[in-house]
Subunit: 358 residues, 2 copies
């Protein structure tokens, strides 16, 4: 079993990574827990809820299951209220524990419910998608969408433990594996040239869900993210580099309508665009732009962005949450393994769009 | 001007107390604020919003006013969403600031909106009731009600400043003044025998809203609460003593239906009952029980509890949030100025009810 120790101001928790962790969820429940709610969705529940419930039953605590409707479109305050209704009607107190079994949507909503139920209770993350395993496992971001914006209502709330069962990825659709791998290689691109090269060498085995290779990729991804988040829990500075590819990516997602592309696919394509922009304004060698395009392709993500029209592209990028005060700032990589944040002239962005949109 | 410095883990802010602070709210806005939302209700707005807006306008930032419906029954997620709708449609970003102008309901909702909007923005408290000035000014408790329980959804979120204008109390109904004074004397009873004696000597001047006396009472109350909260932000132990009178008081409030008695009135009466119970099981001299009854009466709060029937009383006290694991635990005072937390036998509680209910 691999263990990543995450430390942020005021909290510390382990990420345990191994095949079969689902059968050991009881080990993640604090001894003074009074009751447990397992929050999941019908798709995941059909595959894994029974095993999770059997493991949690070993704690000899009441275990209540809450099945939420599946999909990003349900990540809202109405669905959140379903969690509160069950917790309150079942008498859950301040020492009860929530367990999030599912992808990012389940994790974000369960984490936010835990953040605000009785002003904060504990929760355990059991991410079942690769994206959630390498992204939402670390950082404590929780929240729901608002009709006027994604993730607009939320809180920073750290889990007491994250349990990653690498075996559950076997049932994940191939597109979602590729989308998760986009976030994996992102960590290499912004922080670790050696890990990037390792991803290049192991791209095929990663897509094939080779257990050993996958476990290593998840561990390093969590370690790299934990290092960033540990230094900057609130995204005031350093943490923003984790948004590599996201300015372009968000434009793709909201330009096509959310759900057309998976988030990770949009980030993968956005990384190619960020690499092109880095070559324009931050000195990234063109040979490295080619490496980025090749690896994004190798993990199965799109490298050609949709044609939204140049003006639409620019305006979509401007409403990104990061655009405080109106200026577009990009995460750029002067070389693979190093990230900076800076503005870019409109001309350079337009040249990138010409080269990456079709 | 009196200033109380509040320090909790991760946050530090001033409470400024003086007549006329309303005209200086601009001094509470951080220099890098991008926009300001003044959240209030129609009753308070009619009296004070214009002066507040004039002061905030001196920051040269956009100031948007949000009037929420008045009353505890509107302290829910629907009203909360009204705040989010305005903030999002007006483009409020992570550096915007909310200003809560009103009593506890406005403060709790605005604070919670600030806690979860974009995962946390800054807010300023401008409490306009005595209760809010001496209670919600310190501690960072924010939240809304759920149909199944009061304050069930919330967060700990500290303001960047609290501005207390003692002049605004002139428009407060006398009952609300008395209710606020119940919380003031509570601090003396649990923490400071000298302050308690000072309250006894100044009860009439407090009710008459004598500026000097009132300013001192608010300052000491905030200091005492800040001392407790600074040692125990999350109510794991010490902070629970602030709930003196609340176990009985909550039973009164929910037994009669919320709103029949003011919260402070119920706490005032609950303090008499807690004193009686302290005489029964914690050694409080009977002469001090009489002093408690006399001071609660002197500040204008009821000292006789409503007849809900003994069984109803007991069951209402058991559902109190503090009743973790089912046992009723009370905040008791072995002597005036000192508090402990302990269980009490059913018999003793019944004797107290016999003596205090009519």
């Amino acid at each position: 079993m691999k263990v990543v120790d995450v430390a942020v101001p005021g909290a510390r928790y382990p990420i345990r990574i191994a095949p079969g962790r689902l059968d050991h969820l009881d080990e993640a429940i604090p001894p003074n827990a009074t009751a447990i709610a397992l929050v999941t969705n019908p798709t995941v529940a059909a595959l894994y809820a029974e095993r999770a419930e059997r493991a949690l039953a070993r704690t000899a605590r009441k275990v209540v299951r809450i099945d939420l409707p599946d999909g990003e479109e349900h990540k809202d305050s109405a669905t959140l209220n379903q969690i509160f209704d069950v917790l309150l009607s079942q008498g859950f107190d301040r020492r009860s524990v929530l367990v999030a079994l599912g992808g990012g949507v389940i994790g974000d909503m369960t984490g936010f419910a835990a953040a605000v139920y009785m002003r904060g209770i504990r929760f355990v993350q059991v991410p079942t998608t690769l994206l959630a395993q390498v992204d939402s496992s670390v950082g404590g971001k929780t929240g729901v969408n608002h009709p006027l914006g994604k993730n607009m209502i939320g809180a920073f709330h750290q889990p007491v433990a994250v349990e990653i069962d690498t075996d559950v990825l076997a049932t994940l659709p191939a597109r979602e594996v590729s989308a998760g791998l986009a976030e994996v290689i992102k960590y290499g691109m912004i922080l670790d040239a050696e890990f990037w090269a390792w991803c290049e060498a192991n791209a095929a085995r990663l897509r094939a869900l080779d257990r050993e290779v996958l476990g290593h990729a998840i561990q390093v991804s969590c370690e790299l993210k934990a290092k960033v988040v540990g230094q900057d829990e609130r995204e005031s500075g350093l943490r923003a580099i984790l948004n590599l590819g996201h300015t372009f990516g968000h434009a793709i997602e909201s330009g096509l309508g959310y759900g057309a592309w998976l988030h990770g696919e949009a980030v993968g394509c956005g990384m190619v665009q960020a690499a092109e922009l880095s070559a324009e304004v931050a000195g990234l060698p063109r040979a490295d732009v080619a490496r980025v395009r090749k690896l994004v392709e190798a993990i199965g993500c799109p490298t050609t962005a949709p044609d939204l029209g140049a003006e639409r592209w620019l305006s979509l990028m401007r409403v990104d949450k990061k655009a405080e005060g109106g200026e577009i700032r990009f995460v750029l990589t002067p070389r693979i393994g190093q990230a900076i944040i800076q503005g870019a002239p409109r001309d350079a962005v337009l040249r990138v769009l010409e080269r990456t949109v079709a």
